[in-house]
């Protein structure tokens, strides 16, 4: 399955400035692994340790929250994943 991964502005430093990256996999987690293979800097931006998302990362699949158990959510061709970081300022 090929999906579009939308990269948050703060993470684009790790994707050569790309806003959208194509990734392959059958789950959100597999797509993120493929994203990291293409852009290794994304691993630190998304994961605290292997398999554990950072607490400030939110994942949306087809414009809906993928929480909880985001990484095992299945995807299909042309799905869209948005990677977002939490905002805390006011």
């Amino acid at each position: 399955m090929s999906v579009k991964v939308h990269i948050h502005a703060t993470h684009r430093q790790f994707t050569n400035g790309l806003e959208v990256v194509a990734a392959e996999g059958s789950t959100v987690g597999e797509c993120l692994n493929h994203l990291i293979k293409q852009f290794p800097g994304m691993e630190k931006a998304l994961f605290a340790k292997k398999g554990k998302l950072l607490n400030n990362v939110e994942i949306f699949l087809n414009h809906a929250s993928a929480y909880p158990n985001e990484l095992v959510k299945p995807v299909k061709d042309d799905d869209e994943i948005h990677l977002v970081t939490m905002l805390a300022g006011g």
Binding site: A9, L53, N55, N56, E58, F60, H63, A64, S65, Y67, P68, H82, V84, M86, L87, A88, G89, G90
Partner: protein, 247 residues
């Protein structure tokens, strides 16, 4: 009842079919708690005061600093060193002398939050940190008070409206604590987000429009895009999930 002066003052919004004189009277009877008198609190309080909200209670423990002035438009150079709530009250009272502006120069804690919001109809999030937002979120759910969330970072912001017992809450996607850090921001970002929060408050109080419930709205000022994401109520949420279990 509105006075002749109020009918003249709010003429442009009373003439809106969605608001009318009845809606304006609802705004006049409303009591709004605004948590924070900074970047978000400034536009929220300004627009709600201008719109004719009867009572606004604002809380902030901080004092005005030079580095606040790029975004916290209730505070001016002459206010540096003053309590933010004193500076805010002066401006808001000058804007609308009929508005009752209550101010509290304290820190919001789990122990005092219930008492602080007592007597208000809604809670508006104008905080600068997540832990206090979660304190407000839990309090809103426990007291069954609508909670209007907003947050900013750089040119970006996000908004969501929470109706306890009915909608997803701020905690429904909670994965764990996030380190606190000094955040970059330019004043136009909280201006946009705070204005949307104030819009949501007005809509709720008047009883019109479609609220941002179960919808998280993201704004990116650099690209001038709005993205909307669906957020579902989490039955296992440690704040609002217990309501589901009690039902």
């Amino acid at each position: 009842m509105l006075t002749p002066s109020e009918i003249e003052r709010y003429d442009r919004q009373i003439m809106m079919g969605e608001i009318g004189q009845e809606g304006q009277e609802r705004l006049k009877r409303s009591r709004v708690f605004i948590a924070g008198a900074g970047g978000l609190g400034s536009p929220i309080a300004s627009y709600l005061t201008a719109a004719g909200i009867g009572m606004i209670r604002m809380i902030d423990h901080d004092h005005v600093a030079l580095s606040n002035l790029n975004r916290q438009i209730l505070h001016w150079e002459e206010d540096i060193g003053r309590k933010k709530v004193d500076s805010a009250k002066e401006k808001l009272t000058n804007l609308n002398s009929a508005a009752e502006i209550e101010t509290i120069g304290e820190t919001i804690t789990e122990d005092n939050v219930s008492q602080l919001v007592d007597g208000c109809d809604v809670i508006v999030d104008a905080m600068d940190n997540l832990p206090t937002r979660y304190i407000l979120n839990r309090c809103a759910i426990e007291k069954n008070m609508p909670f209007f969330h907003g947050a900013v970072h750089g040119f970006e912001g996000r908004v969501m409206t929470i109706i306890p017992g009915e909608t997803a809450c701020l905690r429904c996607m909670y994965r764990g604590p996030v380190p606190q850090e000094k955040f970059p921001v330019i004043g136009v970002a909280p201006a946009v987000i705070g204005s949307i929060q104030a819009t949501e408050v007005i809509k709720y109080l008047v009883g019109i429009g479609k609220l941002l419930i179960n919808r998280l709205l993201f704004y990116n000022g650099l690209e001038v895009t709005f993205n909307e994401f669906t957020v579902n109520k989490n039955p296992d949420c440690d704040h609002c999930g217990s309501l589901v279990k009690r039902e």
